[in-house]
Structures are given as structure tokens and as C-alpha cells.
Symmetry: C2
Subunit: 439 residues, 2 copies
Amino acid sequence: MKTKRFILQDRDLPTQWYNIQADMVNKPLPLLNPATRQPMKAEDLFPVFAEELCRQELDQEHSYIDIPEPVQEMYRYYRCTPLVRAYGLEKALDTPAHIYFKNESVSPVGSHKLNSAIAQAYYCKQEGVTNVTTETGAGQWGTALAYAARVFGLEAAVYQVKISYEQKPYRRSMMQVFGAQVTPSPSMSTRAGKDILTENPNYQGSLGTAISEAVELARMTPGCKYTLGSVMSHVTLHQTVIGLEAEKQMEMAGEYPDTIIACFGGGSNFGGIAFPFMKHKILEGKKTRFIAAEPASCPKLTKGKFEYDFGDETGYTPLLPMFTLGHKFTPANIHAGGLRYHGAGVIVSQLMKDGYMEAVDIEQLDSFKAGCLFARAEGIVPAPESCHAIAATINEALKCREAGESKVLLFNLSGHGLMDMSAYDQYLAGNLSNYTYNG
Amino acid sequence: MKTKRFILQDRDLPTQWYNIQADMVNKPLPLLNPATRQPMKAEDLFPVFAEELCRQELDQEHSYIDIPEPVQEMYRYYRCTPLVRAYGLEKALDTPAHIYFKNESVSPVGSHKLNSAIAQAYYCKQEGVTNVTTETGAGQWGTALAYAARVFGLEAAVYQVKISYEQKPYRRSMMQVFGAQVTPSPSMSTRAGKDILTENPNYQGSLGTAISEAVELARMTPGCKYTLGSVMSHVTLHQTVIGLEAEKQMEMAGEYPDTIIACFGGGSNFGGIAFPFMKHKILEGKKTRFIAAEPASCPKLTKGKFEYDFGDETGYTPLLPMFTLGHKFTPANIHAGGLRYHGAGVIVSQLMKDGYMEAVDIEQLDSFKAGCLFARAEGIVPAPESCHAIAATINEALKCREAGESKVLLFNLSGHGLMDMSAYDQYLAGNLSNYTYNG
């Protein structure tokens, strides 16, 4: 009997997240207060984020952090997600590579984002918060937060990047079904939004702008905290449930990945699947390769600079030590809205600098070509973001075919693309194009 | 530890489908040749369907029919689907009822339809067929067949009811991503379509019309067979994997359902979950209630007549002994496209006549209200069809609250509604209405 899916029993699910910061040889550089240029402490972040999340953000001591029982209970609702052997894709590529993917698209909201949304909403509730706010690009994060807020009885206000709001109106409907308030960003509801619209009334928005608006709302509203779907270290911490499960599931499959691949926006789905495996590279010198697949039009890892930069457009956030294209960078209107961010998380940036991982960039047309091939082979229509991971995996699998090598490739299917069919429609009609990065 | 999801291991998955015809006290009446009024034999159906499917259609002898190993292999890709205890919904309704649902929405194509699509495509391939054709309403079946055809290397041509084609353009994109040809019905590509369009150029289509077109294409094209997503007995046979799994999963949960509920279009998701449990009602007199939830605007079970009628608009099919609103019935433009069919499958019709089950009708607005409540409570946006089952379940759960009874309710979540967000959008904006059935 050929086993295609590997699934853990509830009793084998992770009860702790993995905090790679504790094991890193070179720790991430500190976040800096932009006014004083002094390193920030957890308390300095309290006005914006739930306190426990601030502590997790800067924790460089504890390798493992307990997952609270109510969060575990919600995880058990949709986790363990399947580890799938992609026999269909292998056959379509005629490759000797063994291709596995972790299927995060089966979460009720359709992506890995729920893993952190549940944790963030839980800590906010615990600390007496009544309202949460956030930004969203493609809408995967906004949807996850909208549902998680509902679970813990919080109100949610989401700023959605205007281009995505227009490209994917049904993401907005989905957030509204879950009871969230959704505003296209830039909006006139914040000073940051007003300033940007005054300067450029037709601005299509960016994650950086939407973050400015949400942070401003959180600062101005009593009982309201800001939450973020990627980039921050505590978000990636929560996403390590993906890799921790995958490690046990690969054991069930009797293999160990040679190469681990994920798409890259701010780094949370990448770090989520990669870090539990990377631990063995850091501590035991294991030779696993880690590949971040970013869009050619937003190539922060392959063409950005490692420097201190703001996380948002307006400059409300601390200065972050990261690979960045500059916080004023305006991304092209690619459909992978979740990858249109100018910077990389501080942990990943340090690991990239230290050579633990590599990055490739993928053109938009190649990403959709890969997505369609995958859909026909495996039956799942992948999110445009995930298509980047698939394209990078296909490239590796084809190298294996040329070399006649049976390498084990594992990628993260971060979400499904069922809310992105307009993009597929345009791709199939030949109406999509690539975008050049002009530095 | 509160268990929310019950999942079987691969080794416990069904290896046979359950054929309720063999156990029925009053067997379904025969299908009749419309010209001669003579009962049809399996051979008479060979020109249209794969031969093995024709034999399954009329099999009243074997209680269990083996699932071929390649079909089991594909099932293992996404099955067992979770049985979920809907704690969130119970809490939202403040009911002492225990509510469970079988989550068929996790299939890669988003609904239970894949269970039969895989089987039908497999038998077609086995018998040397190269092309398959079918009709689809909401697009759940068309999507499933498109993917299943791809898996077994068949070409697929899908006639989609025009109103759904226009209401849900992204379903078309999804079928096209899987490589199917999609035509809005009525079309000018068949005689049946031409005749209907000549009479009424603005006709929005119906499943009955789309069936006529697909059957005509299959008859006229060498190497091409017709496939159907519901109504036929062999389709419901394949869907019994749902109930067979659910039976074992309810055992894991330590309960037995008092009431089993599913939405009702042609009967395949209903029969799929109900029949393995109904076996015990027929053979052992167990008191379980079975409720089919149909739309108030297409009430074949609650307001239709039991009589011989055609399965399609034009009259290409055999005469079927069933509850029907008449094969010329034009359904209202409700968003639950999969429930807009004039007749009920012959097995269900006989069971209904014999009092083994009951039916309720649900207004469109009540269905969406129930769907939104469920989404907020459980995180899954249900298909408009499934919303009917949820509405009926909520009604039962509220009766339990009034009576202070902890009944065990089980419903089938036949699919997710992520391709139906335009309908939710209209509902939330107050732009949907109910439709009266005028007989």
C-alpha cells in the first residue's frame, strides 16, 4: 500500500514552539528605537503588541516555549496538517526526486496564517484587550485574524492593501463573514493614510502603508492592540508547529529532507517549516539546504541590502536589522500579495547573512505555470504565494532528473488559491506579465 | 483533553461501498425505456455510461461492492475526512445537543463530489474511454470530474448551467486550471441546446438542460462517455464512503447519532452519509431520524409527486421512478446551484415513500444566515448547498434547547463555499431574497 499522506495523532502534536534565536551562533542584532538609536526592550513594545508577544519577540534564551492549552485546543481543530508525498508531481516531472509537501492549505481559513493568529488573539484576550487591528495583503492573514478574533471574542479591524482589496474582493467578503471590519489601505481613517493619499491620490497601497495605518489605530485606541502576520520573530515562532510536525512526519515516511523550500514574504511560513530542521544544521552540522523563494519583482533577499530599516512606510516601527529594499519601496502589482513586502524578518536576515540558507527569485509567469502544473498533478490549486515555492521545487526536481539523483525535497504549501482564481483566469487568458525589479 | 476531530487511520478506511438496494424491503421500481415502457437492463445503459457503472446502477443483490485499489489509493490522498464535534456551534446556539459534522470540504476540490468522480473516471479509463462529459450546476461536480479525469488521463468537457457560469466565474477558472473544457449551457453546440435557445434565447439554464447537452455529446462522440454527479444510484453508492467512515468515527467519539441531516439536490451527499446508518434502521429497526434539507424554491421531496419522469429537460434519459417537480421545471436562481434539480434519485424516492426518511425545506435567506453563524463558530465558510443542512441542524438543535434534550445530531458538510463568496457578499449587503415555489 503506497502511503501518500502522513498524519500525526493528536497525542503527537507539538506542545511547545521552537525558538531558534536561543540556538543561533550569531544572535539577531537588537531592534533600535528610531529616536534614540538605543536597543529596545520588551517593555518598549508593550504599547503596540500584547506583552507576552513582546517577550517572545526578544527571547534569546529559551529554545522551546510552551504552547498554552487553549491554543493547543484550537490547533487540534485542524492540525496535524498532512505531509503529502507528491507522487503526481513527481510523475509529471519524470524526476527521481522524492517530493513532499506540508499541506497548510487545509486550515479552515486556507493557509498557515491561523497558527499565529490563534496565538496572538489568545494572548490579547488574556491581557484584557478588546480590539485587535492588523494589515493584510492578499488577505490570508486578515482572514485568519478575523476568525481567531471571533474565537476569543475580540473585535477585529483589518487594513487591506488597496490593490489586493480590488483584485480579490471575495477575501474581503470572507473577513466580513467572520465579522471583521475591513478598510482598503491607504484610507482616510488614519493620519498615515491621509498623508500618503495627499501625496499620491492613486496609490495602490503596500503592506508597509497598511502596517502604518494599523499601528496608528492601535496606538490611538484604548483596549486595542496591533497584530502582525509575518516578519516579527514571535510570528515565526508560532509557525514552527509546521516544521515540528513535519519532522515527525518525515520520520514516519522514513526519509530526511535534503532540501527544504518555502515562499518568502516576511519569512513566517519559511521559518515555520525550516527552523526545526535548521536546528540540526546549526547544532549538528547537518547539510540540509534551505531555499527561500521570493518574487523577482520584490527580491529583498537576493538583491536587497542588510541594514537597519523601518518595518512600515511611515516610520512608526522600531528600526529592524534586516535585508530590505527600503521602506519606501513600491512593489509591483503581482498577484502574490503576501510576498509584496520590502523587508525580511530579523532572524531570517541574520541566518541569510551567516550562510545557513539561500534564496532564489521567481518570475510571476513561472510561478503560475508551476501552480497550474501542480494543480493538475495534485488536485490542489495553490495560492500565488505558494506557487513560488512550487516553482523553486520544480527547478530542484528537474536538476535531480538531469543528475539522476533521488534527492528528498520538502516544500511548504502555505495556502490554497481558491480566492485567487481571478489571477489564474488572467494567467490562462495570457493577460499576466512579469515585472522587472529596477533597484 | 477535549477531542474535536476524529480521524481514521488509513488501515481503517472502507474497502467496499455499501449498496443499500440489496437491503431495501421495497426495491426501487425499474427504469423504463421511454419508447417501449419496458424495464431497462444494464446493457441498455451501456451507450451512455461506463459498463461497470451501469451494472452498479441496477445491482439489487450485493450489499457491498469492492472499491478498486486505484480508487482506494486516490481516496487515501484526502480521506478519511474529519468527523468534527462542532463545539463552537453548540456554544453559539447554547444547546445541549451534541452536534457533529463530517467535513467533506477538505477534499482537494472542496466537496464530496470527488468520491464518485474518481470512481467514474477510473471505470471509464479501464474500459478504454478517452473522453468524458458531464453537466455541473454550482461547479462542485464539474471541478471534481475535471480533476479526476486529469488523474486518469481523460479529456473532460463540462456543460455548466449558464446562471452558475455567470454567478461563479471562478469555478470555470478552476475547471480550466485542471484542464477541462467548459461550456455554458444551454449552448449552440448540441441539438438540445439549440432547440432550447431557439424557444427561449434568454434561458438561464438548468441541470436538466445541461444533462441533455452532455448526454447528447456522449452519444455522438466515439470514445466518449457521460458521467453524472448525483441522482443515479451508482453515484450514491460511491458516496457511501462518507457514512461508512462516519460510523466508525462516531464509535471513536463514543456516541450514535439520533438524527442525520444532509442537504438534498439529487441525493448523493444525503445518501452517502445516511445509507450506512439507515441499514440499521431497515435491518434492526433502529430509530434514527434522517432529514433531507432541500431549498424551499425547489421542493421535490416536500411538494413534488412520486411518478415516472425524465432526468433531463429534453427527454434523452430513461424514465425514472422518483419524486419530481416535472422535468420542465425551471428552478429559481438561488445560489445553491447544486440543489436546483427537479427530481430525487430513485433509491431515496423509494425510501421517502416508505417512510424511512423525512424532508424539510429551507428558505434561501435562512440558509445563508445559518452559513454565517456556522462560519463564525467553526471557521469554515460552507457551500450554499451545505448551508441548507446547517439550517436544518440548527432548527433541530434549537428544539433540543427548548426540550432540554442532549440529542446527537450529525450533518454532512458537503463542501466549502470559497467559490461562492459573491453570494455571501450579496447576502451581507442585504441583496438576496427568498423565492416562492408556485407549483
